[in-house]
Symmetry: C2
Subunit: 295 residues, 2 copies
């Protein structure tokens, strides 16, 4: 895990309400910045002819399991659970001690769990193409609330609930590699435009038990993840080549063989962090994304 | 529970991807309509000087318990759960049988639960004012992903994960009542403008064991909830007078006494449903919210 990032002075960010449990509320100019960071994505989607999809917060556990998320990242997962739908179980839960003085929910009889909270926006998209033969590369854009349970949290840098925006490409190996290099070039231009001196670094996903996970070993031998970082700061976003892992899993074909896929995405709150660190706490000093990327 | 609403013809809504578990993805003109339904709220927030707050999806269970949500609506609650943060628990969960062939997550050792998925956007706001004396009425706007576990689901009408937008007022009884009648008048004008023949009806929240819940009995004796419905269809939104329940709970004062609160909010997907039912499946026939409510 990377070193903790230089913390922000929350006293100078009145629009950020923070809970130690990794949750943030936004208002005022910070909320404006959050929204405006969607603007370049609209432009990039247009450039690639990417259709935007707004997906639910909840994602089927069976699909996530097929994508091996639970094997690789059990420590990061948040699942959704309901009280068992039986009168006596509901009555017991509705009793006055549903939550103890420590804030913990008292044990209850749970219904079977079938969904997790979205770990990354693009996980919703691959299952939608299951069994399809693509007659052209497919480009999709998606933004979602995303969730990672972490050992510690930090405002705008490491949150349990944050937001991510991505563009995904499904196609032949050449098509996906062309997309990744095209998007990387757009990001280079964008970061220069915003005067954010970011640099690409090869990276590995935070696998559980990485020493024994074949996927983690493979990533080390043949890097497929590049992260964009600002100095020694946290990664702002990444460009990921999935080889044909997702498309093979869901039998998505291109030219009669399992297609390839890749995605490029950033954490919206980390981009806000980078802008504040570079351009200061005064909203007047932030890049004018409305002017740079008008509707 | 109200009768099932007239179902939509999903074959005519290519931008709606539906799962039987009450989850929808949107793209194309439907996603445009979803976004445009935020426009009138920006105007209404300006009219009331309401500050917008973007809150997390997760909400502290201790606060929800203080607001008696678990007592009143145990059947609707969705909680967030993580695997216990111990090597052996994570290893067990990461095993290859995390999800069975029926799609159910296999039992695992859970960490203590401390959060639920947002049941209504305004629940995030009252705790923020805990212990404060208000020297003027407070108006707040908020939109969020919202969650209700239901016995059955229906696209755009009854979803496990849907979206709600609200404005809340905290103040004296007179200030809150003036807000509720002011917002109701704005809605009357808005629904006429969209040629949606909606009517107000007195309503009661869907309490668990309603016959034995004092809050449910009180709502019947002294109605505090008015819903806006289209014919026999589902409620599109509601105006709610909370008396001083939330403010008393969190010791929010006005003129030295517990303040009052009220909120007005709609379900975004239900508004989409109403527009499609009234104006048809062709996006060209939908009201032009961009023109009616420009930036």
């Amino acid at each position: 895990m990377s070193a903790p990032a230089e913390p922000l002075d929350l006293g100078r960010l009145p629009g950020l309400r923070w809970s130690e449990e990794g949750l943030a509320s936004l208002s005022g100019p910070l909320l404006g910045l959050f929204r405006d960071l969607a603007r370049p994505w609209a432009a990039w989607r247009r450039d690639f002819g990417a259709e935007e999809h707004a997906c639910p917060v909840l994602l089927g556990a069976a699909d996530m399991d097929r994508m091996r998320y639970f094997n690789s990242f059990p420590h990061l997962v948040t699942l959704a659970v309901n009280v068992e739908d039986r009168e006596e179980s509901l009555k017991a839960f509705a009793g006055s001690k549903a939550v103890g003085p420590d804030g913990d929910v008292a044990p209850f009889r749970a219904a079977p769990m079938r969904h997790a909270l979205t770990p990354a926006p693009c996980y919703h998209l691959y299952p939608q193409f299951a069994g399809r033969e693509l007659d052209a590369p497919v480009y999709l854009g998606t933004r979602n609330a995303t969730f990672r349970r972490e050992a510690y949290y930090q405002p705008l840098v490491r949150q349990w609930n944050y937001h991510s925006e991505e563009i995904v490409c499904l196609g032949s190996q050449e098509e996906v590699r062309a997309f990744l290099s095209g998007m990387s070039a757009k990001w280079d231009a964008f970061f220069r435009q915003l005067d954010l001196p970011a640099a690409w670094k090869t990276a590995v996903d935070p696998f559980f038990n990485a020493d024994r996970n074949p996927s983690a070993l493979l990533q080390k031998l043949d890097p497929v993840k590049r992260e964009l970082t600002l100095g020694e700061g946290p990664a702002l976003g990444s460009a990921n080549f999935h080889r044909n892992f997702f498309c093979d899993t869901f039998r998505i074909l291109r030219h009669g063989k399992p297609a390839f896929s890749g995605c490029v995405g950033w954490g919206v709150e980390r981009m806000m962090y980078a802008i504040i660190r570079r351009h200061g706490y005064e909203p007047g000093g932030w890049p004018d994304l409305k002017a740079l990327y008008p509707d």
